[in-house]
């Protein structure tokens, strides 16, 4: 069954192409010749030890971090330092952060409405409708007029997901969306992400939630020291990792 999904996704055209990408912070190489193609509708889970470059990789995909070498093509547009309108690319790429990063001075609904109104240019009424619809979907619409600080961590992260979805992106990036949460809130956020995956969203998730990876991932990508050193469907990866480093890593997170 997972095998089938992988081949499906492989057949689909790539919406994100990462080619020989290098990223350095001073003398330190955070990404070293990374290659990754993400098919439309494909769900990729990225894992690896701390400092291996997982965040850096997905931050390069929406150009929050600027790569130093290689090519990144998102939805047919190559990201480069000279790209005049990076924001039109970013509109198509939603991102959810480990620390939520909601705007604390805006209500939940306003958080969701800001970018659709100011960037996509839709009307306030339409933006609010869309926001309430998506807040309902993440089961939090009754909190629409509260401020982020009045919500629990799990609720805030679901708002952050709704806020990203309000831009109607083609791809969603998640950077350890559950690792800042108390254990009892992890499930509500993961459930939301599973639902999103079921609807066919293209997703790249940095996460160590193996249950989630097993359930939705088409492919697990394992990174270490700035390189992708192994990728496979989740069943194969978790059962029989090929590299020693992946084995070591898995034994650590399983305890």
């Amino acid at each position: 069954m997972p095998q089938e999904t992988v081949s499906d996704a492989a057949a689909a055209p790539s919406i994100v192409i990462v080619e020989n990408v290098m990223k350095r912070f001073g003398a330190f190489t955070a990404l070293n010749d990374v290659n990754l193609a993400v098919g439309k509708g494909e769900k990729i889970v990225v894992c690896g030890p701390s400092g291996s470059g997982k965040s850096t990789l997905i931050r390069c995909i929406n150009h929050i971090e600027k790569h130093d070498g290689g090519r990144i093509i998102v939805d047919g547009v190559e990201l480069s330092h000279r790209l005049a309108d990076i924001n039109s690319v970013r509109c198509e790429v939603g991102m959810v952060f480990q620390s939520f990063n909601l705007f604390p001075h805006l209500t939940v609904a306003e958080n969701c409405m800001l970018a659709p109104m100011k960037v996509r240019g839709i009307s306030q009424v339409e933006a609010r409708d869309r926001a309430l619809g998506l807040l309902r979907k993440v089961r939090i619409h009754d909190q629409a007029d509260k401020y982020p600080a009045q919500l629990s961590g799990g609720q805030q992260q679901r708002v952050a997901i709704a806020r990203a979805l309000c831009m109607q992106p083609k791809i969603m990036l998640f950077d350890e969306p559950t690792s800042a949460l108390d254990p009892e809130m992890v499930k509500e956020v993961l459930d939301t992400m599973v639902e999103l995956a079921r609807e066919g969203m293209t997703m790249v998730c940095v996460t160590h939630e193996m249950g989630f990876a097993r359930e939705v991932a088409d492919r697990v990508v394992f990174m270490d020291r700035g390189c992708i050193i192994e990728q496979a469907d989740p069943e194969t990866f978790f059962r029989a990792p090929r590299t020693e480093r992946a084995k070591g890593f898995l034994s650590q997170i399983i305890h």
Partner: protein
């Protein structure tokens, strides 16, 4: 003790009318000067933090110049020197401005621009105190530089610096007394005039002192009210003291709770 204030002056008024007229000029100077300072201060403060080298250097230059020249000297520059260095037609026009306004406008300009430089530094500190994640989240949503500043950064930075802006409000209204040196008959100048006319030095300056203190109290209360009004629901209250500045605030780790939400 203040009986002298109700005595008749040579021109048929009472001395208290002189004081009140002085108070009027003081308030007008502080009020309009504040809005000039706030407007320019926010723009220059933002300019200090932008990527564009040209604007950030320009903003830095503004701050260094206006913050580091004594207010009294700036007052003289606007009043005495400006009409001489501009083209003579303009200089003559400036000299034609009738008396109270001829000192009021230079004083307004002087206090507004000086205080703007100080506010700009507070705004910059407020912006730099925001978590990086805020800017990243805005960028990730496709908000460009202007939209990010307008809707995400500046509204949060201003809330953060309300306590330190309180000291700037106090500062500009206390500095209005420097305007007496270029002949504006504001509160201190009137007090001196009363003292010279009546030889009741203690009453004259005592009354002025009490008025200044009341004004400070009112300004402080108003800022406390504003701080409460703009506080983000769910965030913990900020302690407001008049001389509190952002640096001290950050050292004590009592940044407004608003920032805790985004850790």
């Amino acid at each position: 003790m203040f009986g002298v204030l109700f005595e008749q002056t040579a021109d048929g008024q009472r001395y208290i009318d002189w004081l009140l007229s002085g108070l009027g000029w003081t308030l007008a100077l502080a009020f309009f000067g504040w809005w000039i300072a706030f407007g320019i201060g926010v723009i220059v403060g933002v300019g200090r933090t932008v990527q564009n080298r040209f604007f950030s250097v320009l903003a830095r230059l503004y701050v260094e110049i206006f913050r580091n020249i004594p207010v009294l000297v700036q007052m003289f520059l606007w009043y005495f020197v400006l009409p001489e260095v501009v083209p003579s037609a303009l200089g003559d026009a400036i000299k034609q401005i009738p008396p109270p306004w001829a000192s009021f406008f230079p004083a307004l300009l002087c206090l507004g621009l000086y205080t703007a430089a100080r506010i700009a530094e507070q705004v910059r500190a407020g912006i730099e105190a925001l978590p990086r994640g805020q800017i990243e989240a805005a960028s990730a949503l496709g908000l460009g530089g202007y939209l990010t500043y307008r809707y995400v950064i500046v509204p949060q930075a201003l809330r953060l610096i309300v306590p330190s802006l309180t000291s700037e409000v106090m500062g500009i209204y206390k500095n209005t007394s420097v305007a007496l040196t270029i002949g504006l008959m504001e509160l201190t100048a009137q007090a001196r005039q009363i003292s010279e006319a009546t030889f009741q030095t203690f009453s004259a300056f005592g009354a002025a002192t009490i008025i200044y203190l009341c004004l400070a109290l009112i300004a402080y209360q108003a800022m406390t009210f504003i701080d409460k009004a703009v506080r983000i629901p769910g965030s913990s209250p900020v302690k407001l003291t008049p001389d509190q500045d952002l640096a001290a605030d950050m050292q004590q780790g009592t940044l407004p709770g608003a920032m805790e939400a985004v850790k």
